[in-house]
Point group: C2
């Protein structure tokens, strides 16, 4: 659907200008300089030509069909111009101008106006307030953009709302000698969205890897759906900024309120299989490796070096990132012993020495490519003046182009003095990095993507023994009563409906009834005041724990009756279960996305150490198990030093039942199972809260 936006045959510029430093001039210059294969139509009411190209008074005067129109005119003229484009049969408009939604109500009204007109004519809009697109395909060469980086053709496509960061990334690729396939920055994104463009890039054969930058997601569900589908076909590398409160505020100030400090974006990236980065440099360096290298089959790295220290740094980074450096197999050692200098160190790293030749490097690379002990080959290469560095570079290119296993190169050189070495490696598509840590992190990203591809996935389990209607009725009743916070009995009723095990409980109207209930449950018990007006129970003396007798229960309930004047006061009597491991689970509705679910150990683990993990609903069985293992305190679940472990499968099941409850009932705003007491055999919720959304 975006085919002719990215592969236009004719581009017109409404607002084309003869003034050198104007965007209306620059766009035309960029199209010419970049060798656009199609026709260019400057539109200007008073000029005959612009940059030597015949200009037209109106888009309606253009002799041929126009695929893409740039608009570089004041906002107020845009709606009429869109109308004209509609009449002309234009398919896409890139609105470079600003002055729309980002500036306030007046601009928003203009935006609404031109959007309605565009929809009427079936025109798709990129922007407004955007840079535009670039396509380096030799058949197209479309530089529909006013920025200045002139990319070589390549395999990486970049897409972002923010022209600033997209440009930074683009410049970095250009500086590294890494080519680009397609570049798209869509500014206010009132029509064509990031997922739209991602879908296109997913289909584009020339795009091997997609790079994106976000400060927030407008339509998280759509992003999730698209990213999941596209990431299954090709790697998506993404960075989210606005992570700190201050950063989110800065983002909001330039986007007009889009960004927020959230965890949902990270969870979406993870669930969709998007490779997430916190450092734009790491993202850029990784993308360069993805552009030309195959995805590895594992995390076992072989290192070849001609200098010591840089291989040590690379080793540290690789190992810290979860890679291993297995020893060479004995046949490989024997082979290399016959081919390298006697003083060469035949380990992993293999040190061919500074005097190592192209033949030495080739022998090592071939050996590691052939040796089943390795999934990836890492090359440190400093260019001493006394060896034939160009030949070494050519051998690295030759091996890299076999694409048997991924190869990255830490090229340590003076780019001016050794320009030929640099050229050979660049043109050969070898991902080269001046610093060993950069090269190692790029390699680790390839490995990380392998693990994402290989991760166990499954549809979320659907438990057949649940009673959604029972839960729905409870919530409906509370809503009808004007409440969003559910009473304890309601909460336990909902848990019952989803077979989420809770400590045995009964409701009692008064102290005497409470004592009877306790006797039926069995001592010791907990007594909790249950009234909507009593929310923070422990702060108000509305909980009494470890009551061992009927008289203790009566006394406690009577005291609560005295202290709390709630007219709806009742008592929840519950089995007291000491000695288990405190677990917490919880959930919070995420706009447009279902719920974020949290898991952790209770007490200091959550309160002091903030040791919790999050995921998005629906939570599958492998995801539930992964969450259990992802907290730092996970060893406590399995038991440490004399303490028994707990039943992890039971906890994983509760997480999945919780997920099903949330999925069935999007109206749940927030809920806490805090704590769940977990034991070697079972686990029971002993306190819980549920709040539902305000009626719309």
């Amino acid at each position: 659907m975006l085919e002719s936006l990215f592969r236009p045959k004719a581009v017109a510029v409404i607002g084309a200008s003869s003034k050198e430093l104007s965007i209306g001039n620059r766009v035309i210059r960029n199209l010419i300089d970049f060798g656009f294969r199609g026709s260019i139509y400057p539109i200007n009411p008073s000029a005959d030509e612009i940059r030597g190209i015949k200009a037209y008074k109106s888009i309606l005067d253009c002799p041929d069909d126009v695929d893409v129109v740039h608009m570089v005119i004041p906002a107020k003229f845009v709606p009429q111009a869109v109308e004209d484009c509609g009449k002309k049969g234009v398919k896409h408009i890139i609105i470079n101008s600003g002055g729309f939604g980002e500036t306030g109500a007046e601009g928003a009204a203009i935006e609404k106006d031109f959007l309605e007109r565009a929809r009427r004519y079936g025109i798709r809009i990129l922007g407004p307030n955007c840079q535009g697109v670039i396509n380096t395909d030799a058949e197209i060469r479309a530089y529909c953009n006013f920025t200045f980086t002139k990319p070589d053709p390549g395999f990486i496509s970049i897409v972002a709302l923010s022209g600033g960061v997209a440009e930074v990334i683009h410049q970095a690729f250009a500086q590294m000698g890494v080519g680009t396939r397609i570049y798209a920055s869509n500014g206010n994104a009132v029509d064509v969205t990031i997922p739209d463009i991602m879908n296109y890039l997913g289909e584009d054969e020339g795009t091997r890897v997609i790079v994106t930058y976000v400060e927030g997601l407008r339509d998280p569900a759509n992003f999730m759906k698209t990213a999941t589908a596209v990431a299954a076909r090709k790697p998506i590398l993404a960075m989210k900024a606005g992570r700190t409160k201050e950063g989110a505020k800065a983002a909001a100030s330039h986007t007009g309120g889009l960004a927020k400090e959230d965890i949902a974006t990270d969870l979406i990236f993870k669930k969709a299989g998007v490779l997430s980065f916190r450092d734009e440099g790491h993202l850029i360096q990784a993308a360069a490796a993805f552009a030309t290298q195959p995805i590895p089959q594992g995390n076992r790295i072989g290192i070849i070096t001609n200098t010591g220290g840089p291989a040590v740094i690379a080793t540290d980074v690789l190992v810290a990132a979860g890679c291993t450096l297995p020893p060479l197999s004995e046949p490989t050692r024997a082979l290399l012993r016959g081919k390298l200098y006697p003083e060469a160190s035949i380990g992993n790293p293999v040190d061919v020495l500074a005097t190592g030749t192209a033949q030495h490097y080739r022998a090592c690379m071939d050996a590691m490519m052939a040796d089943d002990s390795f999934d990836c080959v890492f090359v440190n290469f400093v260019t001493p003046f006394f060896v034939d560095n160009e030949s070494i570079a050519r051998e690295i290119v030759a091996v890299s182009q076999q694409r048997r296993k991924p190869l990255v190169c830490n090229l340590m050189t003076d780019k001016q003095q050794w320009s030929e070495v640099v050229r050979i490696l660049r043109e050969g598509g070898v991902p080269c990095y001046p610093l060993p840590g950069e090269a190692a992190r790029a390699m680790a990203a390839l490995v990380h993507y392998h693990f994402i591809r290989r991760r166990e996935t499954a549809a979320a389990r659907t438990f057949a023994d649940v009673q959604p209607d029972k839960a729905r009725k409870i919530m409906a009743k509370a809503r009808a009563a004007g409440r969003t916070q559910l009473a304890a009995a309601e909460v336990y009723g909902i848990l019952d409906a989803y077979k989420i095990p809770a400590a045995k409980w009964r409701l009692a109207a008064g102290p005497a009834e409470a004592a009877e209930a306790a006797a039926k449950i069995g001592f010791p018990v907990v007594v909790k005041a249950d009234a909507e007006s009593v929310l923070h129970k422990s702060d108000m003396g509305a909980v009494a724990v470890n009551l061992g007798s009927a008289s203790a229960v009566k006394r406690a309930a009577a005291q609560m009756q005295k202290a709390l004047t709630a007219p709806d006061l009742r008592f929840l009597v519950q089995k007291y279960l000491p000695g288990g491991l405190e677990i917490i689970m919880g959930a919070k509705a995420e706009e447009g996305l279902g719920h974020a679910v949290v898991f952790g150990l209770g007490g200091i683990h959550v309160e002091v150490l903030k040791d919790v993990v999050f995921n998005l609903t629906p939570v599958s069985a492998p995801e539930a198990r992964e969450m259990l293992g992802a907290v730092k305190s996970a060893p406590l679940l399995s038991g440490v030093r004399g303490q028994a472990g707990v039943n992890r499968e039971k906890l994983a099941e509760i997480l999945q039942r919780l997920s099903q409850l949330l999925t069935d009932h999007p109206d749940i705003q927030e809920m806490d199972l805090n704590p769940i007491m977990a034991f070697a055999d079972k686990a029971f919720v002993v306190d819980a809260r549920i709040s539902i959304k305000e009626p719309a």
Copy 2:
């Protein structure tokens, strides 16, 4: 003492060669090409001239004094050549050749031989197996080195054993357009050490910042002393590699066993006030900022930008690194409102818009330099084609050169298209980074160094109420008995001697005596078997806790007597102190360095979460307090949600008394106070172990 090594007037090359690709030729070429201000003497028995310079048959034939001699000859000829140099009165020899200690016993013998000769003549040796030195000082221009990076003059000096990493760092500076002052790589370092060179650089006026890379420290105490002294005068930026087991192994393979996986190096860096980096890129980027910028007076950053997203990234990085982004003061806002475009965003970041001019940037920079709300100024600067970017660059240079507050620049440009902008900023000494995260981390490093400079330091406290002799006698007695593991009574005796409070205790020979002791201490008590042969008490049933009566004590002791057949079996009866917060402290001798001390909370905090902090003796009062605050579980010390805190000052005192004990008794190999039970008022050691070093 190293003056003439770094500022030679005459350099000779023994092993000078006519062969283009030999080191003996390259060193001469480098000296010539770099414009060495002194005399060059090629030494070659058979050539008349090398690269147009008259050659001599022997160093003894040189017509003048020689400060520095390069040796590029096989190892076996080195001792005689050193002898000749001695006769000539040479002051320094750089041995570029390898084939010495790094290759085995034979090489080590040659090394010993030439070293003895050098000492006899008072010659200092750099290397062997090293690159050499470079000094860019306009009066010197000494390129006594065979490598290839040709630095501009600058303010950063680089020193490292590893030529590979030193070269990588050097190349990165050259690529960034950042100059170097002195470069030194000393390979095997058999004579001139890293601390020797650091001392020299500390005195060198042209060096503003020292960069170093280590894989391990040969003489940690000397490094500590030197680094502490030098870091007080100018910043030292350091990176330690070989952090992972695999990395340390890789390091050992190329240095012949120097590196080890240790924590001591980090502790030394911290104690000495060295700025430590885990990423060579971060180190390089930070050094570029230190080279030209003043140290800030605080962590409050003002950001100026002409593009949105990159400022968001910078904000995230700065805030995550502990910086703040205060709002502009009202007068500053008012001032800027009159000077910027009406649409400009006058917050922090200030967004001058892509169309912002040099005057706009200047107004913002001036305002932030003058506004007391800010300690640093951060500039994002993308170069749109439609503004006068060169003028913006010139204003940034002008403000940077005032050196009122540090300024760094995230310059987002195409270096080829905007080469003049790049040139203006480079020559103006503005630290420029293509990525916002890089610029932000460099700025954060300046701030970090400010906090290191400002940190509270103090001499370790000396407690006058301790009895070193008592402790010494206890250890001497154990050693005389052939033991390195002290018995419990000995351990408590030593703690007593240093007034480290322990739970009340008494020794008892048998069950009856134990019951008497318990009665004197007061119930409940713990009974522990105390015999050298019983080391892992809790595993062997040799500890009984919470004994509430004389009969219980008797029974427990009798059971132990039955179960344990140790001839030296006695009983340690100790007050049982439940309910406190478990603390652990410990220590381990670090070769050549005193002891590493550990602090943390006990139980899962140390066993599962590994939440502990380390320091080196002696531990001062501010250091002890900092350690208490540095564990993640620190809030528990102050009390959380209803639980009382503990007496932090008492714990800090115990740490300091422990430090004094260790300092007074370097013979202590390892000790544990595990746990210490801490309460709101007091703290008591309830279990402890001490082992002393094997007799030498």
